[in-house]
């Protein structure tokens, strides 16, 4: 499988997915 970080847009999409995942974890932890 190709490393998504080899592609600029793969990197951006990974960053957006990571943001969403971390947001959900923090929102859950804060009870929001």
């Amino acid at each position: 499988m190709k490393n998504p970080l080899d592609s600029l847009w793969g990197t951006v999409i990974c960053g957006l997915i990571l943001t969403l995942a971390l947001h959900m974890i923090v929102a859950h932890a804060l009870g929001g």
């Binding site: 960053g15 990571l18 804060l30």
Partner: protein, 162 residues
């Protein structure tokens, strides 16, 4: 006016713009430009005149950004890095920024010194250095996206998590 947090916040933003701005220059512009320049034999100008200067401001802006961020956290430094509920959003941003600072000084800069010929390296070592520096730079670009999200969320928690 409380001068320390006020000036720290200002310096944090100034240095952060320089750090992330240069990171985006490397990733959004220079990777493709260096590849095209290598293909037509004009890459020497970039590696000799642009990269050393860009990397100087890049790595020291990273240090100033982190130090100003630490000063801005002040007595909340521990609460942020321990991800306590009251400081969880800014704490995640602080952790991401700290990992990115590590990547700059431990993975990107030492390998760029080999790539640019600042320190001697074999062709094999240079090829390995290119891959490590590239992936560390791309990792930082990926991390910058949630980093900036949590920087914004840290100051406006109710808006993001209310």
């Amino acid at each position: 006016m409380d001068w320390v947090p006020a000036i720290s916040r200002w310096i944090h933003l100034l240095a952060g713009v320089m750090w992330i701005g240069l990171l985006y220059y490397f990733n959004f512009v220079n990777v493709a430009a260096a590849k095209a320049a290598a293909a037509d034999g004009t890459a020497a100008g970039i590696s000799k005149h642009v990269m050393p200067r860009a990397l100087f401001w890049f790595r020291w802006a990273a240090v100033v950004t982190w130090l100003a961020g630490a000063a801005l956290l002040g007595s909340n430094f521990g609460a942020a890095f321990l991800l306590q509920k009251s400081h969880m959003a800014i704490g995640l941003g602080a952790w991401l920024g700290t990992i990115m600072l590590f990547n700059v000084w431990v993975l990107i800069w030492p390998n760029q010194k080999k790539i640019l010929g600042i320190v001697p390296a074999t062709d094999e070592a240079k090829n390995k250095a290119r891959r490590v520096a590239f992936l560390a730079s791309r990792t930082n670009t990926m991390f910058s996206i949630p980093l900036l999200y949590f920087m914004a969320a840290g100051a406006h928690s109710a808006l993001y998590f209310g």
